[in-house]
Structures are given as structure tokens and as C-alpha cells.
């Protein structure tokens, strides 16, 4: 399998958990309608209705990525950059008071680059080629992120779960029980003065619903503040997304249930630097996934070995 391309491992260039430019991941949209629940003039923090029964079986879907090696590929006298990375996605299911369990773990190893890339075989698996639009750093990172998101999309079809929390925006997923969970607020959706309401949310309170997107991809969305120390206006603030289907009343009820459920799983700062947004089940899932990716040094050595084997071929 593809022993023709020659490459070298760039021992300088390994970075872990690359984060592509946030603006490319979550394109800001001008299609925001903040008036679906309350008129702008009446926007205020809302205490979720405590009368709804909270879901027992909740699933969390998340993915991680790791660069195993930066490589330099020989291509007709030219040298092109590429990245060998491992991505994983999985689901953790919590069910009442029983133990949370990681189910459905998927792992993929890919070599990212332009059309020059080919599969690389190692003892512990094959790095499948993935063609990116360009081979600059940003494009490669975006490629890795896409691979991870695709894996995440494959997971999360837990039929029994009453609530499925997807890490990140819904990205077109129209699972009835699904909710998108956006931990970090890189993009500003709301116009003033509604944004001020978000800053003023108390612990456990949510903002009124608003609609983002348009056409077939519009979602119900709202902000909620998770418990934790409030050091700035966005401390502990997460944004949630529901598929933009059904009535506003259903969406409001659902948002109350989701908001109250998320608070239950919020982490604490002494246990997680990304607290409270990095929910306990998700942190545990990420740890499990990272573990399941295997030892990074082992893979780097395998890639060095593969590179040297190819170079020795005349």
C-alpha cells in the first residue's frame, strides 16, 4: 500500500491538540432572531422551570485529536508539509445513579496534506490519506478538525438516550434528543442590548431563546450560566442549540430541561482547568479517548520507522 511516496518526520513541528482559527469553525451569521421567546425590550434572565422531569439517560458525544507527527513529503523535487494525526470520538452514557459508561469509541489515524499524500502503514495501524484544500498550517488543522467532526457525527445515535449532548454546534445533526453544546464563546451572536442580558445571567439561569441560521439549518439557541466563580461576564456561560423544528413552546420547555440538566454535570475548577464548561462526563470521555489513542511516542517512533523504510527503497 502506497510505499511510493518518500517522507521525513519533522521532529521540530509536533504540536498537540491543534486548535484551528475559531472563526473558520463557527462562521458568524447575521441570521439571528432574538425575538422568538421575548421581544428584545423584555429580554431578561430566565430561571428554568423546575417542574419538568429531568432526563435519566443522558449521552454526551465528543471527539479529540492529536498530532502524531509533522512530516515533510518529497514530491517531484519539491518538499510539501503534511501532518499525521489521530482522531477519536466516542459517547459516554450516564443513566440515573449508575456508573457512567463510555460506549462507542471510534478512532481514525490519517495523514493530512494535499494530493501528494498516500497511506502510511505502521505496526499499529494505517494512516489513511486525507486531502486538504491546501497544505498551510491552518488548512491542515482544519482538515484534522473536519475528520474529528465526521467521526463525532458517526457516533451519537443512542436510541435510548432522552438527551444527547453533542460537543460543539449541531452541524446539521437532526436527532430529536440532540442538543449542541458550545463551551467557548468565540463568536458573538446577539446584538445589544440582548448581549447585556447574557452577561447578567445568574447561576443556572438562561437567556431567552433566539434563532440562529436560516433555511433548513436554523436552530433554537440560548445561553445558560453554569455554577462556578463569576470573574467576567462570560464566566461559565455556554451556548446551546436545538434543531430548529417544532413549536416555540416545545423549544422553551426543552431548553429549561436541558439547562437544568447541564448544571448537574458542571465541573469544578480544582478538578478541571476548563471548569465549569467542561462537563464531568465529557472530561472523562476525553481522558478515555486520549488513552485509547495509544502512546504518542510509540506512534511517532512507528512513523520514523516507516519514513526510514521508504527512504531505503531505491
Amino acid at each position: 500500500m502506497g510505499a511510493s511516496i518518500k517522507f521525513a518526520v519533522d521532529t521540530w513541528g509536533v504540536g498537540y491538540d491543534p486548535a484551528p482559527d475559531a472563526s473558520q469553525l463557527e462562521p458568524a451569521t447575521s441570521d439571528v432572531d432574538p425575538t422568538v421567546e421575548l421581544p428584545v425590550s423584555q429580554w431578561r434572565p430566565i430561571v428554568p422551570n423546575p417542574l419538568y422531569t429531568l432526563p435519566q439517560r443522558v449521552a454526551f458525544v465528543d471527539g479529540i485529536r492529536r498530532i502524531d507527527a509533522s512530516i515533510l513529503i518529497d514530491s517531484d523535487g519539491d518538499v510539501r508539509p503534511g501532518i499525521c494525526a489521530s482522531v477519536a470520538a466516542g459517547v459516554v452514557v450516564t443513566s440515573g445513579g449508575t456508573h457512567a459508561q463510555v460506549v462507542d469509541v471510534r478512532i481514525e489515524r490519517c495523514v493530512f496534506g494535499t494530493s501528494v499524500v498516500e497511506a502510511i502503514d505502521t505496526r499499529f495501524g494505517t494512516y489513511q490519506p486525507r486531502i486538504c484544500s491546501d497544505d498551510d498550517r491552518e488548512s491542515l488543522y482544519l482538515g484534522i478538525h473536519q475528520a474529528m467532526v465526521e467521526l463525532e457525527l458517526d457516533c451519537g445515535d443512542d436510541q435510548d438516550a432522552e438527551l444527547i449532548v453533542f460537543d460543539g454546534p449541531l452541524r446539521g445533526r437532526h436527532v430529536a434528543a440532540g442538543v449542541g453544546y458550545i463551551k467557548a464563546q468565540h463568536v458573538r451572536y446577539l446584538p445589544e442590548p440582548t448581549q447585556q442580558v447574557v452577561y447578567g445571567l445568574g447561576t443556572g439561569q438562561r437567556s431567552p431563546l433566539f434563532v440562529v441560521g436560516s433555511g433548513g439549518r436554523n436552530r433554537w439557541s440560548w445561553y445558560v450560566r453554569l455554577p462556578g466563580p463569576i470573574t467576567h461576564g462570560l464566566s461559565g456561560i455556554v451556548r446551546c442549540e436545538l434543531p430548529g423544528v417544532g413549536s416555540i413552546d416545545d423549544a422553551i420547555a426543552r431548553s429549561d430541561v436541558v439547562s437544568r440538566t447541564l448544571v448537574r454535570f458542571a465541573s469544578e475548577p480544582h478538578k478541571d482547568p476548563r471548569a465549569p464548561q467542561n462537563l464531568y462526563p465529557i472530561a472523562g470521555l476525553e481522558r478515555t479517548l486520549r488513552h485509547r489513542l495509544g502512546d504518542a511516542a510509540l506512534f511517532q517512533r512507528q512513523l520514523l520507522l516507516a519514513a526510514s523504510e521508504r527512504r531505503s527503497v531505491p
Binding site: G97, H99, A100, K271, Y280, G284, T288
Partner: protein, 589 residues
């Protein structure tokens, strides 16, 4: 056999020790016997067997102790991992390689369990108790009878360690399991009863024996009966001219024992009255040697008395007076008789000797006497298969004398026969008293002799003590079989118990009565055994009533024939609690 788990690779697996992660839903417990195979390619396949000596369970994926609450609430995913540490007992064939991480591990049961514990290769199996899986565990007789090793040593704290019970159980097993074959008939044992009166009922069935215990005997192939042929001897009651045996709760079927003056003199027993007779720093031992030699030459009189200077001496006190007269004549002008005192011996030395000798009178005068008709018949004859020598009421000094003399005589007699068979067993508790690590005495010398040469002479020591660390190292190290009951925590930490792995040492501090670790040369790891409750009585209350016997509460006591004293109090208080004669040695009037 189904897999219970797999060898883990996150801890080193070594040829002698490895960890096994248990598969979900599976469990093992301490002392379980496990097996794992390894393929050695062209060299075939080997199976490693081992015993679970430690276990642990933990959350994997948790980083903080408090994560346990998150995990229990179902908020944080984590794996529960349960692992067992296995210590190798045997590799078949004997190839010492570690098991490979990931290798499936199974419980060894039936034939495989016997192979694991090396039982299958033991030709002469001495039942030693039941292992935790309820199967019989055996000791290789070759390591008891002197073929490859000899002697048994038992350690454990008083009361719960049941050292004496286990020693008697082993004896019972020897005599009744058939392992000795035809030899069992001629094989004899001497048991010293040093504490309480629990060994005075070996010939009586135990009323308190449960069905479960009976089943235990059945599983071990032993009858649930008392000892067959038991002779019990006890010292005479001090001050009693009839020399009735001084025992508390049992008076019947017990013979008094003592030595005649002739035996005392001619068998040269005098040094056994001196605890430090072998100590070369002591000057008086010169005098002791000379006096002993002179006593050996005294002519014999009636009933085992001796003649000295025309006088008949029939009691120990008179003998001591006669010796003193020889060493310190009343006539101030004449010095000590050089034949008795030795040459160039100072007055201080002679005084030291006499002082020591005189102080022994009150403790042993009832044991050395010729003042009763038929005195010579009261010497120990060891006709029965098991002879219990009761010395628990004697003063320490008298205890040492009796033990020393009996051991010497037994050893010399065995040596004289020139044949190791049939075997002679000796059961002695409180070895730390008779063979202390830091001092020297005639008894210690004999015990050392037994430990070092007994194997070839057929004299087998079953010794016991609370603390092996206080017993002469050479005696303990010569014992092929080491047994440990419950240990004091400080004692368990000493290097004398190096054969116990750390986890077992820790466990030895909480062993329950009836559980012992048995370490034998065949297995690199001690095995926990449980031995059944004694089928013979160890207290009056346990002795089954039969014609002429009464039980412990004294109801319906008969005065005719044999009877147990109506008393259930713990010895040695029973004699007093029942308002009977104080049987303890009385000061000489």
C-alpha cells in the same frame, strides 16, 4: 476451565510473581490457586501455577479521591479494575519464565489444583489440614521423618494461635492417616504439657465436636476419634507421702513419675538442675562436674536409694546435705574433699555451687526420691504410643529438669538402638524457654543435638513457641516444616518469618484460631490450612461422659472409678476453684 482474568502488563510479571486483572463478573479470593499457560515455541508449553496472596480494586480514570462520588453519581466515567497478585507455587515443566501479559488465567481445580500445590508428586502424604478451597493439603512426609528433612516448628501468640492443637493434630495425622504404614505401631511420641491441662484428655472423645469438624476429618482421610494409646504422667503432689499425681481436673489414668536417687546419681542428672551448667564462664561448673562423677559411683540401696559413707540416702534433701558436707565439712579444720570439689577450687566457687544446689531442693525434691515402696517403677517408661508428660504445675527450674532429663534419655536411648526407625517424636511448647537464643544450658544443648542430629537418629522435634525470634536460630533453621499461626504484629515483622511474603505476614496478625500457614520445602510459598477442631477433648467439659466419668458441670458425679473433677474452670485455677487441695508445689518445711 473458564478464564477468570488476564495477566496485566502495567505491573512487571516475573517468573515468581505476577498480577492478574479479573474479567468483569469474575472474582477470586486470597489463597485461590490459579493457572496460566505459556507457549515457548519449540520448547513446548509450560503452565505456571500460583496462589493469590494479595488483591486490589481501584477506579481507573479517576484522578482525585473525591472522583469516587462523581463516579458513583454517574457523572464521571471510570472503569473498576480488580487485580490479584499471584505468587508462583510451581512451573510445569520447571522452566522459570514470566507469564506473558494478556495471557488468560484460570482457576486451578481438581487435578490441576493438586499439581499446582505439588500434591501429585508427594508419595507419602501427611494430611496437614484443609486449604481454603476445602481440599486436603498435605505435607511431604519425606520432610518430616528425616528422609529429606525433619522437624516441625510452630510459631504463634498464645491463645489464638492454637500451636499445641496443631502439633497434636499433626501427631494424630501421623499415627492415623496410614502414611507411616507398618511403622505407625512402633512410632512413639512424647508430649510435654507445659501450660494448662489441655493435653490431659487426648484419649477422650470430644463432646463438642461438630458434624462439620467430623466431615473435615473425613475429607482428610482421618477418623474423628481420640488418640488410641495414651499414657499420661504427672509429677507427684509435693508433700504427699503416697506420691499421687498432682493434676487439677483429671486424676484418673494418670501415673506419677519421679526419679530414684540411684537413677539421679548413676544417670548423671545433676547438671540438669543448673540452667547455666554449660556456661564456661561459670567457675562452679568444675565442682558440678566433680560432684556428678562422684555421685555416679555411689552404691545402690533399697528402692533405688544410694549409700554414701555408710548412710542410706532416700530423698533429695538428704543427698544435698551429704554433698554439702563433702564440700564444706562441719569440722572447720578440714577442707573440702578434693575428689568432690576438684582441685584448687576457691571457697567462693564452692559456695556458689552449694547455693544453687540448695535452692533447687524445694522445687525438685518431690521428683527425686526413693522413699516409696516400688519407687523404681515410677520412672518414665514410655510404653504407650503417646506419652503426655505433664509439667505445667512445676516450677520453671523443675520444668527444665524434667524436659532436659527426658530429652537426654530419649535421645541416648535412640542413639543406642542405632536405628532411626521407628521414629520418636517430641512435642515441646515454649521452646524460647528451653532453647533461648542468647544463653546456654544443658537443655539447649540437647535440643540443638536433636535439631541437628535427630534427623539421622529418628528423633523428630515438633517445637512451638510464641516468638521464633527468641529461639536459638540453629534449632528453627533445622526445621524443614515451619508453621505460623496468628502472630503479634511486631513479631511478624522480624526476619525469622522471611518465608512469609509481606501480604501473608500482614495476614498472620489476623489469622483466626485453627488457621495456620504451613511452609514446606516443596512449595515456594506458604499455604494457609485450616485444621479441624480436635476430636479429642482439651478440657474436662469437652470430655464425653462414659461409665464412671462425669462431665464438666459435675452433675451426677460418681465417686467410684475414674472421674474428672467437677470443674470447668480454666486451668490452672481449677484446682483452687473447686476447693480442692492446692496442688501447686509447696515450700519445703
Amino acid at each position: 476451565m473458564s478464564t477468570v482474568g488476564r495477566v496485566i502488563g502495567t505491573e512487571d510479571a516475573t517468573p515468581l510473581e505476577f498480577w492478574v486483572a479479573l474479567a468483569p463478573g469474575q472474582h477470586v479470593q486470597l489463597d485461590d490457586v490459579l493457572a496460566v499457560d505459556r507457549d515457548l515455541g519449540d520448547d513446548g508449553q509450560i503452565t505456571l501455577y500460583g496462589i493469590v496472596i494479595q488483591m486490589r480494586a481501584r477506579h481507573e480514570g479517576a484522578r482525585f479521591d473525591s472522583d469516587v462520588f462523581l463516579i458513583s453519581d454517574g457523572k464521571l466515567p471510570a472503569e473498576v479494575s480488580e487485580c490479584a497478585m499471584v505468587q508462583l507455587t510451581r512451573a510445569v515443566p520447571e522452566t522459570f519464565v514470566p507469564p506473558i501479559p494478556g495471557a488468560p488465567v484460570r482457576k486451578a481445580v481438581g487435578e490441576e489444583r493438586n499439581r499446582a500445590l505439588d500434591v501429585d508428586r508427594v508419595e507419602r502424604q501427611l494430611p496437614a489440614g484443609l486449604s481454603r478451597d476445602g481440599e486436603p493439603m498435605f505435607i511431604d512426609l519425606d520432610f518430616v521423618d528425616g528422609t529429606k528433612g525433619a522437624h516441625v516448628n510452630i510459631s504463634g501468640i498464645s491463645g489464638v494461635a492454637t500451636k499445641t492443637s496443631y502439633a497434636t493434630f499433626l501427631l494424630f495425622s501421623l499415627f492415623n492417616s496410614g502414611v507411616l504404614g507398618q511403622e505407625a505401631r512402633g512410632t512413639k511420641a512424647i508430649i510435654f504439657n507445659v501450660k494448662g491441662e489441655d493435653l490431659l484428655f487426648l484419649d477422650q472423645p470430644n463432646r463438642a465436636l461438630s458434624q462439620e469438624a467430623r466431615a473435615g476429618y473425613g475429607q482428610l482421610g482421618l477418623p474423628a476419634t481420640p488418640f488410641d494409646s495414651v499414657g499420661i504422667v504427672a509429677p507427684p503432689r509435693p508433700g504427699d507421702p503416697a506420691a499421687t499425681p498432682a493434676t487439677g481436673s483429671r486424676s484418673v489414668g494418670i501415673k506419677p513419675f519421679f526419679w530414684t536417687l540411684e537413677q539421679f546419681c548413676h544417670q548423671q542428672l545433676l547438671p540438669f538442675l543448673f540452667a547455666d551448667a554449660e556456661d564456661e564462664r561459670q567457675q562452679y561448673t568444675i565442682v558440678l562436674g566433680a560432684v556428678t562423677a562422684q555421685l555416679a559411683r555411689l552404691p545402690t540401696g533399697r528402692e533405688g536409694s544410694v549409700h554414701l559413707d555408710g548412710r542410706t540416702i532416700d530423698n533429695f534433701s538428704a543427698l544435698v546435705d551429704a554433698i554439702a558436707e563433702k564440700l564444706q565439712p562441719e569440722d572447720p579444720d578440714s577442707g573440702p574433699d578434693p575428689a568432690w570439689a576438684g582441685r584448687a577450687v576457691g571457697t567462693g566457687t564452692i559456695n556458689a555451687f552449694i547455693r544453687r544446689l540448695a535452692s533447687s531442693v524445694r522445687h525438685v525434691s518431690h521428683l527425686i526420691r526413693s522413699d516409696i515402696a516400688g519407687s523404681p517403677e515410677h520412672s518414665l517408661d514410655f510404653q504407650d504410643q503417646v506419652t503426655v508428660v505433664d509439667i505445667h504445675q512445676l516450677h520453671d527450674r523443675a520444668k527444665r529438669f524434667v524436659v532436659g532429663v527426658v530429652l537426654r534419655r530419649t535421645f541416648d536411648a535412640k542413639e543406642a538402638t542405632g536405628s532411626a526407625r521407628p521414629l520418636q517424636f517430641i512435642v515441646l511448647d515454649e521452646l524460647n524457654k528451653y532453647a533461648p537464643r542468647d544463653s546456654s544450658s544443658p537443655i539447649k544443648e540437647i535440643l540443638l543435638d536433636v535439631a541437628e542430629r535427630g534427623r539421622s537418629l529418628g528423633v523428630i522435634l515438633i517445637g512451638a513457641q510464641q516468638t521464633a525470634s527468641e529461639v536459638e536460630r540453629r534449632i528453627v533453621s533445622n526445621c524443614a516444616i515451619r508453621v505460623v499461626g496468628r502472630l503479634d504484629a511486631a513479631e511478624a515483622g522480624r526476619d525469622n518469618y522471611g518465608f512469609l511474603p509481606p501480604a501473608q505476614r500482614q495476614r498472620a496478625t489476623i489469622l483466626k484460631p485453627g488457621s495456620m500457614y504451613v511452609n514446606q520445602p516443596r512449595l515456594p510459598v506458604p499455604v494457609l490450612v485450616e485444621f479441624p477442631f480436635p476430636a479429642w477433648a482439651s478440657r474436662p467439659a469437652e470430655a464425653a461422659p462414659s461409665a464412671g466419668w462425669v462431665d464438666g458441670d459435675g452433675a451426677g458425679a460418681k465417686s467410684d472409678g475414674a472421674l474428672f473433677r467437677g470443674c470447668d474452670a480454666t486451668p490452672p485455677h481449677c484446682g483452687l476453684a473447686c476447693g480442692q487441695v492446692d496442688a501447686r508445689p509447696q515450700p519445703r518445711r
